[in-house]
Every structure is written in C-alpha cells, then in structure tokens.
C-alpha cells in the first residue's frame, strides 16, 4: 500500500453492469476519490466481474459504455484494482477477457486484502 495521510477506502463491485446503475455510480465515486488523492482500492467480485469484460456494446440498449473509463483509472492514480479469480472461474471467464490489466486474487487472498482497508463501501 502506498503511504497516505488519508484513510484507505475499498469499493467493492458485485453487480453486473447496465441492469442496475451500481457499477456506473461506483465508478463515479472512484473517480471523485481518485481526484482527491485518496488511498483507494477497487474490488470486483461475483457478478461485478462482468463490468470488466472487454468489447462491451451497450449502445444497443441506449446506455453509455462506462467500461471505457476503466482505462483512465491509472491517470487518477488508482492502481489497486483486484478481481476475484473464483468469481471469474465460476462464470467461465479468464483475465484475458477483461478490458484492463489488474491483479487477480483468490477469494481468500481478496478477503485478506479487503480487511486492510478502513472503510469498505459496496455497490
């Protein structure tokens, strides 16, 4: 973890994109926290891993493709991004199917990493 005077915040994304607004509003919060120089980590678990899929085309349901913004996270100094390998496997997905490079952790390691954060918000 990088040194910071701020408290550490974890955003846990556990719902698929578009069916609900959770993913988009979680990302909005991530960008706001990032621009405040916050010590922030993003976790993608359960159906939340679907948010990371490459080649999303939600224009056919008249929704903005917010997954394109994931590529901009590094410019907000948001470098701690984790995806659950168990959740990927359960959905027959692999890291190569995802739109950004990120750290793949087992459920157990992910829980351990999550416990290091002061505040945990879930979307």
């Amino acid at each position: 973890m990088k040194a910071s005077t701020h408290t550490s915040i974890a955003l846990v994304n556990k719902t698929a994109p578009y069916g609900q607004a959770n993913g988009q509003e979680s990302l909005d919060l991530a960008l706001a926290a990032g621009s405040f120089g916050q010590d922030l980590s993003l976790f993608f678990i359960e159906d939340g891993v679907f948010q990371l899929l490459a080649k999303q085309a939600p224009a056919c349901i008249e929704v903005k493709n917010y997954s394109k913004t994931f590529a901009a996270l590094e410019f907000y100094d948001i470098e701690h991004i984790y995806v659950c390998s168990d959740s990927l496997k359960a959905r027959n997905l692999e890291p190569k199917n995802l739109c950004i490079e990120l750290e793949v952790l087992s459920k157990k390691d992910l829980q351990q990493r999550l416990s290091q954060h002061q505040h945990i918000l879930s979307f």
Partner: protein, 129 residues
Amino acid sequence: MASFSLLITKPSFDAQDAYSAYRFAVAALKLQHRLKGIFFYQAGVHNSNAFQTGHSDELNLHQKWLALAKTHNVPLLVCVTAANRRGIINQQDAVELDIEHFNLSAPFTEVGLGDLVELLNASDRVLQF
C-alpha cells in the same frame, strides 16, 4: 466515543435499509457518539424528496430525517448528480433549468462526491445502508 458517518444508498419507502439507518443514527446519538454526517447516494437520494406524502398513519422517513437534523445538527448531504438523475432538484437548479417546482431544500444539502470522500476521512466508522 467514536465518530460515525452513514452512507445511505437505498430509498426511503421501498426497503427497510434507510429506516434502519435512521434507527442506528438515533441509537448512536443517544450513546453520545458523534455523527459527522449522513450522505445520500444512489437511490438513497429519494430520502431527500420533499414530495413524499404517504398516508398520515404511516411512517414518513423524510420527516424523521428533518427532525433528526434539527435536533442534533447532523448534516444531511445529497449527491447532486444522483439526485438530479432521479428527479430531485433544489430551487436554484429548478430556476436554471426552467422547471416549475423543486423538491430538495434545507436541511438537505446538494453536494458533490468529494464531500463523501471528506466525510470518510473525518470518520472512525462509516456504515452503509
């Protein structure tokens, strides 16, 4: 004594979550913990809608929040983007957008997500409902 903040992401009527948050707030204040602020995000912004007029013999959580803020001076912060997306606007926005009515007013305050980040930094514990 600990300092708490609440993040409310569920609406006032459709689910019990926001009422549970209210009960937590009352209990925490009774035990003399500090409540730094209550932030309404996602569908939680519906709590701030002043046009909630249910039956008179039913709970009106909006009114409960108003009373809590008045009695204990707790800031009620509403994400402006999330609110506007869900048809909740204050007087200034209504004037600027040429909309006849508005349904968000003090003590509920329109703020940005940066205010939530500041609230997180200022609190020992944050509970999400």
